[in-house]
């Protein structure tokens, strides 16, 4: 049971190209021993949901710095749910004003990390909250 690694997909939804955070995190997850898939920029919610299901992902980490998280993050959770994949945890980060947190939590985003979050803290959250599926 325990030998299966956590599979994480770091995804950049929308048209935003600010990928510094996403790429740094992808590397931190790899160094933490997770299996990492990084989608690259400019993925549609549909592409992200389909890839997460196809790749048997445990947790999807969304990164958005354009302000479009209000639409994109909930849309991805919704698409996963529609396809019976609501056991995939979705977390997010980027430039997310605090007043948007309730909207995102209510939509099913499980954790939100904003600038200043330490890499270790994000890795720890995943280790604590994600059990690799079999």
């Amino acid at each position: 049971m325990t030998d299966r690694k956590i599979r994480i997909m770091v995804a950049k939804p929308g048209l935003d190209g600010h990928d510094r955070g996403a790429r740094v995190l992808a590397r931190a997850f790899r160094d933490a021993g997770f299996e990492v898939i990084y989608t690259g920029c400019h993925q549609s919610p549909e592409q992200i949901a389909a890839a997460a299901i196809q790749e048997d992902i445990d947790v999807v980490g969304l990164s958005c710095l354009s302000g479009a998280h209000r639409y994109l993050f909930p849309r991805i959770v919704e698409l996963l749910k529609e396809q019976g994949a609501d056991d995939i945890t979705v977390i997010g980060g980027g430039i997310i004003p605090e007043q948007d947190f309730p909207l995102l939590y209510e939509a099913g985003i499980k954790a939100i990390f904003t600038p200043g979050a330490k890499l270790d803290a994000i890795v720890d959250w995943i280790r604590t909250n994600i059990v690799p599926r079999n």
Binding site: D16, G17, R23, S66, G67, G116
Partner: protein, 560 residues
């Protein structure tokens, strides 16, 4: 030689004395840390002396402003003749919203305009594209047709104010709109001035706003350079940008090297593809650098940039016109140095970064607003940022003397070091076969990823400090008002787009787009066809769809 032998001998002797004194005091006043380095991790020494620049030749390497190698500036009169252009990057919501902000800035003493477009416009999609959902007007102004563009330029004297447009893959379409808008207002193309960013290489390297693959992307850029050289002589057709390379995590040396190597790639392409002589277009190339928080490193980077480019243009490309040797640049303070925590501290950071840009000799400057790390900036925050520049220009006295740090042992030594490290990178990329080849290999992308990761680890470990984030983080959780975008912007913009499409002559648009497609295939310059198309109300996406169809789309290789 910069110094006489006697001075160097004295310097060596005094330095030895000083070193003895440092050793003696190590017990009581040891250095706080073993290694001191710049924000880019270049190691710096506690003291610089004449020996550090013993090989520097005054006339050859330093000289005076307005003379080769332009280390000290392009203009003989520096800021005494004219301050840098106060150019605040602005755009949000609809064209009307942005036009209002622009008028506020001009009234506040801004001297040039700079356009921020929203992501759909930046990526060549119309506001009604499914790909645009949730993005319309968020990070900048939404522009779909010439009608929007005319609203944007309402009341702007296009023959007096220069406008910069941060636009890359759809640069031909937006520049065509600018040209068409000028004509609409009765201003000839020879009378307009401004800049299109139009630098695709740094998109593949860092900013990731890409559409077509590198080769055809460069071809479209060379089309604009040629069109500008022949018809719009006061326009800067490329703003060769290090800003985004730095924001993506590059060091100052990487920013310097990759930017200048990108510049070399463009010059080579225009000469090869268009057969223009270097002096016919090189004076209209401009640059764009980041002003990060490490004060001296930034100043030295900008000074080194001017000297390297002057040598490249004169020696490598045999340019004869001194204006081809000039590296003219815009600067923006570093967004990535700002913190969401204790946001008022950002005013201080921006002021110091802006001062570095001025001491580095920038021609144009954007100062970030304190709240940009959270959202689009508020009117009040923008005003403080603009005033920061005006205080530097008119109160501090730094504009009175040209390149006042020249001759500093430290500044000249660090300038030399950055030039030499950047030149190593440039040679390495030359050996790879140029920048497109290097991008295909993922070389600059991975160099930047390494630097970004190293920096984040250093922050997490507390080796590098960001006040309010990993030091002195306690308290100060005072909030600032965050600008919220009107959710109606998207619906309003889509309605304007539909109405513009209803009113236009669709057959004329179809014909224009077919002509553009043919030009793409035959290698004719696309600019006249773009101008014709936008005048008939072809949309940004319709033009870009032609490019996508003919040239194909580039996919992010997702390197990390």
């Amino acid at each position: 030689m910069y110094f006489t032998k006697a001075t160097l001998d004295q310097s060596a002797e005094l330095t030895r004395k000083w070193e003895d004194e440092v050793r003696r005091s190590a017990g009581t006043a040891a250095e706080q840390k073993a290694r001191w380095s710049t924000v880019s991790d270049l190691e710096i020494k506690p003291l610089y002396t004449p020996e550090d620049i013993a090989q520097t030749d005054f006339a050859r390497d330093i000289g005076v402003p307005g003379e080769f190698p332009f280390l000290r500036g392009n203009q003989a009169t520096g800021y005494r003749g004219r301050f840098w252009t106060f150019r605040m990057f602005a755009g949000m919501g609809s064209a009307k919203d942005t036009n209002t902000r622009w008028h506020m800035l001009l009234k506040g003493g801004q001297t040039g305009l700079s356009t921020a477009f929203d992501f759909p416009t930046l990526m060549g999609y119309d506001s009604d594209s499914p790909k645009a959902r949730g993005e319309c007007g968020r990070c900048g102004v939404a522009i779909d047709t010439l009608e929007d563009f005319l609203t944007l330029m309402e009341g702007i004297p296009m023959d007096q104010v220069t406008t910069s447009m941060t636009i890359n893959p759809p640069a031909t379409a937006l520049w065509a709109m600018y040209c068409a808008a000028a004509e609409h207002k009765g201003v000839p193309l020879t009378g307009i001035g401004g800049t299109i960013q139009n630098d695709m290489l740094k998109e593949f390297i860092a900013q990731k706003t890409f559409m077509c693959p590198p080769e055809p992307s460069i071809r479209l850029i060379s089309d604009t350079v040629e069109f500008g050289a022949k018809h719009v002589p006061k326009w800067n057709t490329i703003s060769i940008s290090g800003y985004h390379i730095r924001e993506a995590g590059a060091t100052a040396v990487q920013e310097l090297a990759f930017t200048l190597r990108d510049g070399i790639e463009y010059v080579e392409d225009v000469i090869r593809r268009k057969g223009l002589a270097v002096d016919e277009f090189a004076p209209r190339l401009s640059f764009f650098f980041n002003a990060h928080i490490d004060f001296f490193e930034e100043i030295c980077k900008m000074r080194a940039a001017r000297r390297i480019w002057a040598k490249v243009m004169r020696n490598r490309f045999r340019a004869q016109d001194p204006r081809s040797w000039w590296l003219r640049f815009h600067t923006q303070t570093a967004g990535c140095s700002l913190t969401a925590q204790q946001p008022y501290n950002n005013v201080v950071r921006t002021a110091i970064e802006a001062l570095a840009a001025v001491l580095g000799g920038t021609q144009s400057l954007h100062t970030n607003s304190l709240d940009e790390v959270l959202s689009l900036p508020s009117d009040h925050a923008v005003e403080i940022a603009l005033r920061t520049q005006q205080i530097i220009a008119e109160e501090t006295g730094v504009a009175g003397t040209i390149d006042p740090l020249a001759g500093s042992y430290f500044v000249e030594s660090l300038t030399n070091e950055m030039e030499s490290k950047a030149s190593e990178y440039i040679e390495k990329i030359d050996a790879m076969g140029g920048m497109i080849a290097a991008i295909d290999k993922g070389f600059p992308q991975m160099e930047i990823a390494d630097s970004a990761y190293r920096f984040q680890k250093a922050i997490d470990a507390g080796e590098k400090v960001m006040i309010g984030v990993n030091k002195y983080a306690a308290g100060g959780s005072y909030g600032i008002p965050v600008v919220e975008l009107d959710e109606q912007v998207e619906a309003g913009q889509i309605e304007r787009l539909r109405s513009a499409k209803r009113k236009r002559d669709s057959r004329a648009v179809r014909r224009d787009l077919d002509d553009l497609k043919a030009a793409c295939k035959t290698g004719q310059n696309v600019m006249p066809f773009c101008i014709a198309a936008v005048k008939d109300m072809a949309t940004v996406q319709e033009i870009c769809d032609v490019y996508r169809e003919v040239f194909g789309e580039y996919r992010d290789p997702g390197l990390y």
